[in-house]
């Protein structure tokens, strides 16, 4: 059963900038999908339409059986609660401690007051520490986030989204600012989360090789339109050139 369905979704920024044109696809529960495409092709817009950080111009998005395009504020909050998001620049509150940032994942579940003053239940705190332990961050729990390395910050980002008990995790270029070793750690965690916790994962990536290794399905988009949708095995070289609108020898992956 599809957990997420895009039906002819279009998005126009301002009056002229077309970000998405007639995008349709559906994602089944438990899938690991990777979206690849050149910068500015609409990858981030797709993710942000799902949790309504961006409003679509046309078409409908169905998440978990509900059309979220016509959702009111309360319903949007419900959707966001159930979708975690991981960012390229981690987007943590740098001056707060790791544990506080992880607990932010519960804000959607809490009353305005107790969320605003940061009062969490013992159960929530325990859960936060368990997640931190899983991600190997127990020692960092009380450190301020600006003391951490990039890879550690991204793991805090993952922990925060896991705190939401999400059904879907959206990753917006999670490894674009990380070194190869931290990148592997992050991708391995995402893969484990997807397999063991059965959380659906949609991951924007710039690295085609990484996408092909980790994802079970790849969606390639060029200037707001889907040009490839299928398993990584069928993503041939010529199709990659199509996605990036490039020729033989024009991609960094061609350098040997």
């Amino acid at each position: 059963m599809p957990i997420l369905e895009f039906q002819n979704v279009s998005k126009v920024y301002g009056n002229t900038t077309k970000a998405l044109t007639n995008v349709s696809f559906s994602v089944n529960e438990g899938e690991f999908v990777s979206i690849i495409g050149p910068s500015g092709s609409g990858k981030s817009t797709i993710l942000r339409c799902i949790n309504r950080l961006v409003d679509t111009t046309q078409g409908s998005i169905i998440f978990d059986g509900h059309d979220i395009n016509n959702a009111n504020k309360k319903e949007i909050r419900q959707v966001r609660k159930k979708t975690g998001m991981i960012f390229q620049h981690y987007n943590l509150v740098d001056r707060l401690s790791v544990i506080e940032n992880v607990l932010h994942g519960r804000l959607g579940y809490k009353s305005t007051l107790s969320g605003a003053i940061g009062r969490y239940t013992e159960q929530e705190k325990e859960q936060a520490f368990q997640i931190l332990a899983k991600l190997g961050l127990t020692e960092q729990a009380y450190k301020r986030c600006d003391e951490l390395s990039g890879g550690q910050k991204q793991r805090v980002g993952i922990a925060r989204s896991l705190m939401q008990e999400p059904r879907l995790i959206l990753c917006d270029e999670p490894i674009a600012s990380l070194d190869p070793s931290s990148s592997k750690i992050i991708m391995d965690y995402l893969s484990t989360i997807n397999k063991n916790m059965k959380i659906t994962c949609i991951c924007n990536l710039h690295q085609v090789d990484v996408a092909m290794r980790y994802a079970k399905r790849i969606i390639g988009i060029t200037s707001g339109q889907i040009v490839y949708d299928g398993p990584p095995e069928e993503l041939t070289k010529s199709k990659i050139y199509d996605i990036y609108q490039s020729n033989e020898g024009g991609l960094i992956t061609d350098v040997r």
Binding site: G84, M85, D94, A116
Partner: protein
């Protein structure tokens, strides 16, 4: 293969003539600006009847006169307790003004910043109001308020309050936009509501910079409250004005020295505080 690629690259770079014209254009702009400023100075000097040479010649004379008259004497020192009491009063006023203006400014800046996504009209209105308060100098505020409050400490308070409020709203909006936009996006994505985002995201990430601006405005207001005090006949400014008009230059200079010492102390202190909180 590689040669061919290099050729391609070279072809893509702009022609040399283009580059030269860019440089000569920059030189021309520079020359025009320089002569423009010079011409502006010359014209205004002629219009204002200002002679640059006699202007500079009088500087040493001015210093000699100051050195002769502005040395605090015994009489001045006997007035020190009175001066210090007034100075303390002025400093407290500056702190009170800045603190209350900061609280109001923070709420206003939440409306003005892009991160909270307040309705565009409200946000625009908040920015315009702040800009109005900021762009009327506090001296003008003082003169305007003199009509309604008279020569009173309240006049000084509100004059400084309005100007400080306007300044702080702008500083706060810039700070919040700069440091919290990324974490605000993430908190939105978790399903947090606006009040939770403000208290859990915006406040902790921008607080140190906000405190830093408030400290700066305290320094600034201690300096300015002297000037306002001359107009409103309150605080240390009044005392300076009084001694000066009585031609008691020794006491007047002691007032100035006390103000300078206080301002420098506050500046050093706030630098220390900044270092700790940053």
């Amino acid at each position: 293969m590689l040669d061919k690629q290099m050729d391609n690259l070279i072809e893509k770079t702009p022609k040399k003539t283009n580059q030269i014209s860019v440089f000569s254009k920059r030189k021309r702009t520079f020359a025009i600006t320089f002569f423009g400023i010079f011409a502006l100075f010359a014209v205004s000097a002629i219009v204002a009847n200002y002679n640059i040479l006699s202007g500079f010649e009088s500087i040493p004379k001015a210093f000699a006169w100051m050195a002769g008259n502005f040395i605090p004497d015994k009489k001045a020192l006997s007035r020190l307790p009175n001066i210090l009491a007034k100075l303390f009063e002025t400093a407290l006023l500056a702190v009170a003004v800045t603190a209350s203006a900061a609280i109001c400014a923070f709420f206003f800046s939440l409306l003005g910043t892009k991160t909270t996504k307040a309705p565009p009209l409200v946000s625009r209105a908040a920015r315009i109001a702040a800009s109005f308060f900021r762009n009327v100098p506090n001296v003008v505020w003082a003169i305007l308020l003199l009509f309604s409050f008279g020569q009173n400490i309240l006049t000084g308070f509100f004059a400084l309050f309005f100007a400080t409020f306007g300044m702080l709203v702008r500083m706060f909006i810039e700070t919040i936009d700069e440091v919290s936009s990324s974490c605000v996006e993430a908190l939105h994505a978790t399903g947090a509501n606006s009040i939770q985002i403000i208290l859990q995201g915006i406040v902790p990430s921008s607080l140190p910079e906000i405190v830093s601006w408030v400290l700066y405005m305290i320094e600034y207001n201690i300096r300015d409250s002297t000037l306002i005090g001359i107009l409103t006949a309150t605080g240390i400014g009044y005392l300076f004005d009084l001694y000066y008009k009585r031609m008691d230059y020794g006491s007047a200079s002691l007032v100035v020295i006390c103000i300078v010492i206080l301002v420098i102390t506050i500046e050093l202190l706030s630098n220390k505080i900044r270092k700790v909180i940053m």
